[in-house]
C-alpha cells in the first residue's frame, strides 16, 4: 500500500523559533512538514530539493524580492510566499514582479495562514519571466 503524500514547506528566515514560526508550523501540520533555514542554507537547499511552497519572512531577510529572483533562477516553477509585518503597495509590486505567488501581511491566525498556503499550492506557479 502506498504512503499518502505530504507536502514539504520551507521557511526562510530566523532559525530561532518564534511565536510566529510556531503558529506557522501548527497551521501547516495538516498539510505537511516545515523546514526552517537561514537564507544561504535555504538557497542551497532549494537547488537540491523541491518544496511545495517556500515562505520568506521579509523581516528576517535583507531583500525578499531579490531572494525570490535568486531562488527562481534555479527553480522557475517555485511557489513563493513573502510574509511581512508591514506591507506597502510599492513592495507588493516589487515582490510579485519578482515572481512571488503571494505577498501577505504577517498573521498569527493559523487558519488564515493555512488557507493562503493551500491557495498557492492549488494555483499554477507564476508565469513571470525569471
Amino acid at each position: 500500500m502506498s504512503e499518502p503524500t505530504t507536502a514539504s514547506f520551507l521557511l526562510i528566515g530566523d532559525v530561532a523559533e518564534t511565536q510566529w514560526t510556531l503558529a506557522l508550523k501548527m497551521s501547516l501540520l495538516p498539510l505537511g512538514s516545515l523546514c526552517v533555514l537561514a537564507e544561504d542554507d535555504a538557497v542551497l537547499s532549494v537547488e537540491n530539493h523541491i518544496y511545495d511552497v517556500i515562505i520568506i519572512d521579509a523581516g528576517a531577510i535583507h531583500d525578499a524580492a531579490l531572494l525570490t529572483r535568486r531562488l527562481r533562477t534555479n527553480r522557475p516553477e517555485a511557489r513563493i510566499i513573502i510574509v511581512t509585518a508591514s506591507p506597502t503597495w510599492e513592495y507588493t509590486r516589487e515582490a510579485l514582479q519578482a515572481g512571488a505567488a503571494d505577498y501577505i501581511h504577517k498573521t498569527f491566525n493559523q487558519e488564515e495562514l493555512r488557507i493562503v498556503v493551500q491557495e498557492v499550492m492549488d494555483k499554477p506557479p507564476p508565469e513571470r519571466p525569471v
Binding site: 503597495w89 507588493t92 509590486r93 510579485l96 514582479q97 494555483k123 499554477p124 507564476p126 508565469e127 513571470r128
Partner: protein, 655 residues
C-alpha cells in the same frame, strides 16, 4: 502596438493618451467601464491599462477596473492597472496569480508616479509579456501559393466575417512575431498540410545569419492548445522536445516543431510520396515509419484498464454516438446513398431489414449484415478483449505524415496524442490509406480486393502482389505490413478489426443526405459502407463471442510462456511484473492442483517460516494484482481459485 487606456477622468484620459501616442503607440480610449468592456471584447489590442475606479472616483469601494482585469474572459490580454489611491490590498489583488492561471495584471501603478513611469512600464510589459518583435522581417517565398497572412486566416478560420478580417490578419501576424520574437527574419516557404482549423507551414528562421528550419502548426487557439495539452500529458519525451516554441493570441495559437537535420524543401506528405513512388519504395518507407517513427510509441508500457469502454470512446471521438448521429440519420443516409448509387450506375444497393444487398453491374450479388445494427447496439459493442491500451501518436493521416526522400518519416499532427487501444495507430493508418489513396472507380474490383484481404486475414495467410488487381498492388503490401505490425503489438485481431469497422464508418459520417455528390464521391461513400459491412460479417468468424446477442460466458485459455516470459489470455497478452510472473508460472506449472500458501511463500518468495505476517500480505497483494490483470471479474475469479484456508489453484481453461 495597440493599447487600451481606460479611465473615467476625461482630462486624465486625454493627457495620458497623448503621452502614449507620442511614444508611438496606437491608443484606444475608454471613458467608461462599458466602453472598456466593449473594446476588450471586440478589438484586438496588445495591452490594456485600466484605472481601478472606473465608475466613481469618490467611492472607496469601487474596484470595477480591477474586476475587469480579473475577468477570465480577458486573461489572455496583458494588463496594467493604475490608480490615484494605491494600497497594499489592491496591489496584491491585481498582481498575485489567480486560480485559473496568470495574475490579472503584470503591473500596478500609482498615477502620481507620472507619465514617464507609465511609458517606461508599458515598454517593459510589451517587451517581457507581449513579446512581439516589431522588427522581425517576414518574407514570403510564394511556393505553392502561400503568399499572405490573409490567406492563412482564410484557411484556419474561413467563417471570419469581412468586418473582422483585418483584425484577425493583424493578430495572426503578431502571433508569428511572438513565436519568432528572438529571430531577425522568417521566410514562410510552403503549406505542408492543412486540415480543419489547422495548417502546417515550412518556415526558415534566421538569427545572426544562422538558419533554422521549422514546421509550424498553427490554427484556432482551442485546437492548438488542446494539442499541446495532450502532448504534455501523453507524449513521449522525444515528441515533447520536438516542440521548440509555442505561443497564443486571442483567437490563434501556434507551435514550432524542429525536425532535426531535415531539408524543408525536400519534405512531402506521405500521400504525395505514395502517388509519386513505386510500391516497393512506398513499402520500404512504411517499414521505416513503423520501425523507427512509431516503434518508440508502441514500445511504451502497455496497461490494461477493464473499466475503459474504448468503443464508446471511439464513437464519441468520431461523432458516431447518439444523439450527435442518431440511428435514424444513419439509416436515411444509407438509403439516399443507395439512390445515388443507382443514379450513377455504380451498384444497386438494397437496404433490407438488418441487411445490405449489393448487386454489381456485372451480375454478382452479395449480402452483408447492416453495420448500423452493430454500431447502434445497446451498450458497448461486445467483444472479448480486456482494454489493453497504449499511447497513440496523434491521429495518423497520410496527408500530415511528412516524408523526406530517404524515406524517413515525421509525425507532425500530434493533436490527438491520447490513450488508445493498442494497435490503434496502425488500424487508423490502414483506414486512412484505404479511403484516401485507394482507387474507387470500380466498386466490384474493390469488393474483390477487400474480400481477398479479409479472407487472407481470417485464414492467417499472406497475399502475393500478383494475386490482386493491378490497381491495388501498391496498397496491398502496405495493408499487410500494417496488419503484421499490429499482430506484433497486440496480437488482437478482433480489436484491430473493430478499429477498422469504426474507422470506416467515421469516413461515412460526413455524407449528407441533402447534398449532391459527384460519381467519385458517391463511390467513396459506398466503399466505406461496404467495407464496414464486410468487417461486421467477418467479426462473427474471427471471434464468436463478439456476435451481438451472444452471452459472454466463454473464458479463453490462459497460457504462460516460460521461455519468453509472456502471459496470454486467449489472444491478448497481459503485462505482469517479474514477481507476478514468477507466482503465475508456479501456479501454471501445477495447474489444477492445490498450491499451499506455505509452499508458495517458500518456493516463490523465498521467505523463512517465521515471517507469517509478511507472508499473508505478500501473497494476498500479488494474487490480487494478478486477478486484476487476468480475470474478467475479480469478484468472481475463474482462473485463480482460492481454496479457503489452504492456498490457490490455477484453472487454465475455465468452463
Amino acid at each position: 502596438m495597440k493599447i487600451l487606456l481606460a479611465d473615467n477622468d476625461a482630462d486624465f484620459l486625454e493627457t495620458r493618451a497623448e503621452f502614449l501616442s507620442n511614444a508611438g503607440y496606437q491608443v484606444l480610449k475608454a471613458g467608461t467601464l462599458e466602453e472598456a468592456q466593449r473594446i476588450l471584447a471586440e478589438e484586438y489590442i496588445h495591452l490594456a491599462i485600466l484605472d481601478i475606479r472606473l465608475v466613481d472616483d469618490d467611492d472607496g469601494k469601487d474596484v470595477s477596473g480591477l474586476m475587469l482585469a480579473q475577468d477570465p474572459a480577458y486573461q489572455h490580454i496583458t494588463k496594467i492597472v493604475f490608480t490615484n489611491f494605491p494600497n497594499y490590498e489592491d496591489a496584491r489583488a491585481s498582481m498575485r496569480t489567480s486560480k485559473s492561471g496568470p495574475a490579472p495584471a503584470v503591473n500596478y501603478l500609482a498615477k502620481k508616479e507620472g507619465p514617464g513611469a507609465m511609458i517606461r512600464e508599458v515598454r517593459e510589459a510589451l517587451k517581457e509579456h507581449v513579446r512581439i518583435n516589431p522588427d522581425l522581417r517576414i518574407r514570403w517565398q510564394q511556393r505553392e501559393g502561400l503568399h499572405s497572412f490573409a490567406q492563412l486566416v482564410g484557411v484556419i478560420a474561413p467563417e471570419t466575417e469581412n468586418g473582422e478580417l483585418v483584425k484577425r490578419v493583424n493578430e495572426l501576424e503578431d502571433l508569428f512575431r511572438r513565436l519568432f520574437c528572438t529571430y531577425d527574419q522568417i521566410t514562410l516557404s510552403c503549406i505542408l498540410w492543412q486540415k480543419q482549423s489547422q495548417v502546417a507551414l515550412g518556415i526558415y528562421a534566421y538569427a545572426h545569419n544562422h538558419e533554422e528550419q521549422f514546421v509550424v502548426v498553427c490554427g484556432e487557439r482551442q485546437v492548438i492548445q488542446t494539442s499541446l495539452g495532450n502532448l504534455a500529458e501523453y507524449a513521449l519525451n522525444l515528441a515533447k522536445t520536438q516542440v521548440q516554441i509555442a505561443e497564443k493570441t486571442m483567437h490563434f495559437a501556434a507551435m514550432a516543431l524542429s525536425l532535426n537535420e531535415v531539408e524543408l524543401e525536400t519534405l512531402q506528405s506521405f500521400a504525395t510520396f505514395y502517388r509519386e513512388n513505386t510500391g516497393q519504395t512506398v513499402r520500404r518507407c512504411l517499414d521505416v515509419m513503423v520501425q523507427t517513427t512509431l516503434s518508440p510509441w508502441m514500445q511504451r508500457t502497455q496497461w490494461i484498464d477493464p473499466q475503459v469502454h474504448m468503443v464508446e470512446h471511439f464513437r464519441e471521438r468520431w461523432g458516431l454516438a447518439e444523439p450527435l448521429y442518431p440511428r435514424s440519420a444513419f439509416d436515411t443516409a444509407v438509403q439516399t446513398l443507395a439512390q445515388r448509387a443507382l443514379l450513377h450506375n455504380i451498384v444497386e444497393l438494397t437496404v433490407a431489414p438488418e441487411q445490405l444487398i449489393f448487386s454489381f453491374p456485372g451480375g454478382q450479388r452479395v449480402m452483408y449484415p447492416d453495420p448500423g445494427k452493430l454500431l447502434y447496439l445497446d451498450g458497448s459493442i461486445p467483444f472479448s478483449w480486456k482494454g489493453v491500451c497504449e499511447t497513440a501518436a496523434g491521429d495518423l493521416d497520410v496527408h500530415t505524415i511528412l516524408v523526406e526522400p530517404s524515406g524517413q518519416t515525421w509525425i507532425t499532427d500530434l493533436g490527438y496524442t491520447h490513450m488508445m487501444p493498442a494497435g490503434y495507430n496502425l488500424a487508423q493508418l490502414e483506414t486512412n490509406l484505404r479511403f484516401s489513396l485507394m482507387p474507387t472507380d470500380n466498386l466490384q474490383t474493390l469488393w474483390n480486393f477487400e474480400t481477398q484481404v479479409l479472407d487472407a486475414t481470417l485464414h492467417g495467410q499472406t497475399l502475393r502482389i500478383g494475386d490482386v488487381e493491378p490497381s491495388y498492388r501498391k496498397a496491398l503490401p502496405l495493408i499487410q505490413g500494417l496488419r503484421q505490425a499490429a499482430k506484433y503489438v497486440t496480437n488482437d485481431s478482433v480489436a484491430y478489426q473493430i478499429n477498422l469497422f469504426l474507422g470506416a464508418l467515421a469516413y461515412f459520417v460526413p455524407y449528407h443526405s441533402d447534398w449532391d455528390y459527384t460519381r467519385a464521391e458517391v463511390a467513396h461513400f459506398l466503399h466505406t459502407i461496404l467495407f464496414a459491412a464486410m468487417i461486421y460479417d467477418a467479426l462473427d468468424k474471427l471471434d464468436p463471442v463478439s456476435s451481438p446477442g451472444s452471452q459472454h460466458q466463454h473464458c479463453p485459455p490462459l497460457r504462460v510462456d516460460a521461455k519468453n516470459r509472456e502471459v496470454w489470455v486467449g489472444n491478448h497478452q497481459v503485462m505482469v511484473s517479474q514477481t507476478e510472473f514468477d507466482l503465475l508460472l508456479y501456479l501454471y506449472q501445477r495447474a489444477g492442483q492445490l498450491c499451499r500458501r506455505e509452499d508458495i511463500v517458500k518456493d516463490v518468495f523465498h521467505l523463512p517460516d517465521s515471517s507469517a505476517g509478511d507472508q499473508a500480505s505478500l501473497i494476498n497483494t500479488n494474487i490480487g494484482r494478478l486477478r486484476k490483470k487476468v480475470e474478467f471479474d475479480t469478484c468472481s475469479p475463474r482462473y485463480i481459485e482460492t481454496v479457503w484456508g489452504q492456498g490457490y489453484k490455477l484453472i487454465v481453461q475455465p468452463e
